[in-house]
Amino acid sequence: MTTVATEAAPSQEAPKPSVLRRGLRLSPELFTGLAGTLGLAVLATAGRVAVPVAIQQGIDRGLRAPGGPDVGVLTLIVAVTAGVLFLTMFSAAMMNVRLFTVSETALAGIRTRTFRHIHDLSMLHQQSERRGALVSRVTGDVDQISQFLQFGGLIFLISLGQVIVTTAVMLVYSWQLTLVVILAFAPLVLVVRHFQKRLSVLYLDVRDSIGAMLGAIAESVVGASVVRAYGVQHRTAERLDTAIERSRRAQFRAQTNNVISMSFGEFAAGLALGGVIVVGTLLGVDGKLTIGQLTAFLFLATLFVQPVQVATEVLNEAQNAIAGWRRVLDIIETSPDVADPGTAGRALPEGAVDVRFDHVHFAYPGGPEVLTDVDLTVTARTRVAVVGETGSGKTTFAKLLTRLMDPTTGSVLLSGVPLTEVRFDSLRSRVVMVPQDGFLFDATVADNVRFARPDLSDVDLELAFTELGLLDWVGGLSDGLRTEVGERGEALSVGERQLVALARAYVADPDLLVLDEATSAVDPATEVRLQRTLDAVTRGRTTIAIAHRLSTAQSADEVIVVDKGHVVQRGPHADLVADTDSIYARLYASWLEQTR
């Protein structure tokens, strides 16, 4: 409100228009038929102005007609105005339909694009975001924009039209009175700008606090069993209350500022109305204005005041939508650090894949090095086990191999092609990883296995389970292959989920299969059986297994031992065990200790 604040405005306010502009650029659909819609908007406001004009004409030519009240003229004026009103209604309806259609279409576009982009972002980026927050990017945040465009944007458009048309008509009646109205509202511009800045900060806080609250709620739902097992309901309730209360306060604070800002609009309205009466009467006394014109002007001033007030409020609430828009833009404008080279890329050469790590280093952003100078080759058609203690860097190795992340320095090559140059469609169909957490979708066992091969027939599906030696297990399920696995597969046990995940990778028939502790929760007998099957079917391909149990290592052609980010040993199991002082020998001894 102070001059200082206003002067400082241009430098600090920079993000707001740019978010809007970037947001609009994101959705070219929004501009479809915009000229037509704007034309309709002008027509739609014409009706509102028609009424004050009718009143002026009615008073001056009807009620106060020189020969006494003339009801005939009055009726004619009213009839014409009614006609205009009808047209107005019609064009307003048309405009609304166009606006809704265009904006919803545009928002559906934003939703899908953001969704796709989130999937395109690297594992690293996905992990750094709260999952709930990612979901809200394609739901709540977009809804926020939609509300703004349809309620706010619509009202803003009409209001703007109304202000322009009203100002024009006011000017026809009296430029002096028009000046009075505009002068009354001029200070409002500064006030609104000041509050916009505050509100943009406050609404950002609102969205943050809501995000945190959703996180707390999600935690209490997802962690329900832990909360219960440890009897920490009270503690959890307190954490929830704090988060809920914080979001309430943030919302109320924003609301308060919004109201204060609005009250200035009301004050300006009073000033304008009072000013029009005083100045208008003085003009009338000078013979420059009739009583009908003065009355009409009062109506016009109201028509000017209302939309300006409404627009102020819309602009305030727009800050909320802009916060949402910014969050969507933040995602869309983050270029994936692990990007698909697309058509510029290459396909992997046909046949089994060999792997080369060329002096690979990796560190998570801001973290210590997880892998240091890994330099090795895995020959095509071999079965390699990667072993090491928890936290040794095994899983990072698998993630680099499947290009879920890129090395900090050095490069990974498959069949001589740097991974960064391999097209994703080629990479993902030829290289398949089975992660430790075998995530399942809320569908049947069959649907989940078909995930990568939707065209797979029932017969082939059953054949796959037979080959894997899992037909017995499927037979034990309540509904066989049609058994619903529930949300995240939770209707199955952890081990069973891994079986389905393995079958899913198996039918994908990749040339390089990466197993990241894919059978850690499966019982030993089943694991051994699976191992045997995998051995049989992996003859033609390269398999790299991040091994948790050393049984896998024993049957591998070669073992790679990772310790504290370094490859410390490699070779066939028998050779490595022979070196009795080695890390592998120690791991193996402890493995024997627990299995014998």
Partner: protein
Amino acid sequence: MTSGKVLLKGLWVLGRAVRDEPHVFAISVVGSVVFSLLTIATAFVSGRVVGEIALPAIDDRRVATGALLLGGVAVLAVSIGKIIGIFGRRLGAGAMQFRLQARYRQAVTRRYLRLPLEWHQRHATGTLLSNANADVESAWYPIAPFPMAVGTVVMLVAAIASLFATDWAMALVGVAIFPSLLGVNVAYSRRMAPRVARSQQLRAEVSAVAHESFDGALVVKTMGREAAETERFTAKTVELRDATIQVGRVRAVFDPVLDALPSVGTLAVLVVGGLRFRQGAVEVTDVVSVAFLFTVLAFPVRAIGWVLAELPRSVVGWERIRHVLDAEGDMAYGTTTPPEPHKPAALRFDDVHFAYTDAAGERGGDVLSGVTFDVPAGRTVALVGSTGSGKSTIAALAARLVDPHTGTVRVDGVDARELTQEALVGTVALVAQVPFVFDDTIRGNVTLDRRTAAGRPVDDEAAWSALRLAQADGFVQQLGEGLDTKVGERGTSLSGGQRQRLTIARALAGAPRLLVLDDATSAVDPRVEAAILAALRGDVTPLRTPSGPTAAEVDTDRQASILVVAYRRATIALADEVVYLERGRVAARGTHADLLATVPGYADLVTAYEKAEAEKEREHVFDDEETVTA
């Protein structure tokens, strides 16, 4: 529900809001009424100033400056009064809406914390999240314009009264216009209701698809199914788009009609006023005032429409909240405490049957049928069985996360259902197969601000000692801020093994008398596992680990009975007894050696690795022999 019933129910929900927040509501309504009355006053003050000061002045070409200024000031004064009204109304409405949201979010989440796990398992996570968030929001959405609508009703009554005070004929126009405004509003909300409900439903579905897809992002990515997933999401998004456009079409038609009605009133007043003026019944001032009244009323009357339009959505939200708040089946705790709270606890399963219930409320086949076994005080029992044989279910029953359908689970001879919650959680600690970590500090995750069964608070010392035992002290020390380090949502900053060790430490920190490990030590070195188990068994076998002598810290407080789901033969070997499960039944019980000798299924399971290795050796020998022969 018919639309009439929805309307009634919606009004009932509004009544509920008033009962919950009477004071804030009163403030906002008073503010709203002040605002409304002053809005009418604007019309009359302006009308009188024009009629009594401006009109004679213009006609006489002479102005009474004092009176004119007074008129201008009066108009401004009314505006300032309106500002006070706005503050009361808007802040009151905001406070009411946000307080109601907070109140019901707390109520719903409190309920979540009390409802049994079985209830949780029957409801999708996404649904529960939206119950506490979106549904609470939509239930109280109409609260924002509600005080204004109430104020508007008062205003309408006052307006009609003032109309009759002015002139009965013009008043009749008002009497015709205002009810038809209400009528159009009601028709509007009726047409909106089903369409809004549908778009709400689709919004939830879009959210569910996104949630699942991002949850499974790793699988989507590694299988290169981004495009297919986007297609799946797009299909739902397009449905949502079409549904929202349908909502928009209704709005598109009704909004302009509602906008135009007051203008129609103004025009009618002009005609009727003209006739009455000719009869000499009214003055020009009266006509102007009444016409102006219609103009200023046009906007506030819309508030009633907003409230009515939001009611269907509000009712849907409210019913979903009620579904949670009214959900039956609290897992009630008993009043008994175990007889000897300082010794390891005994666990007994007596003919326990259990089946999971699906989302539709239908109970599936038995996961456990007639399971009977016991863990005598101070002993260690290993639970062994193939994948899907019911081990995790037994673990959940032992910690009373769920209750058996028939049969009993006893702790120290007392039915677990009869124990108090404090006694239960102080006695049994479960470490689940999949570690769950809170978005909190390491300290918060380990201590959970608990007290042990003996009443001691779980302090930093206890936390460090538990972390040491779980071999998690090393990485915690390296975290920079030690116990104060925040671990992020679900512990994303930690590796899987670190998370697992953290949850083991959490269980140990509470000094449980019965520890249930559901395949929870897979990420822990077997030696460490042995140390943990030894400490809990009270064996004082010194063990050297990099972080110091662990077993030396054994104190008698630590001793516990252990039920451990295991595959490792080393773990099994530590057990006093093995319970071997086959498809939800206890197939055999006994020592490892006995079962190995007498139960072929058991032998197959636990010696799988050895057998595989032996076979491999044989192949080798065979290969060698072949080479020799050749």
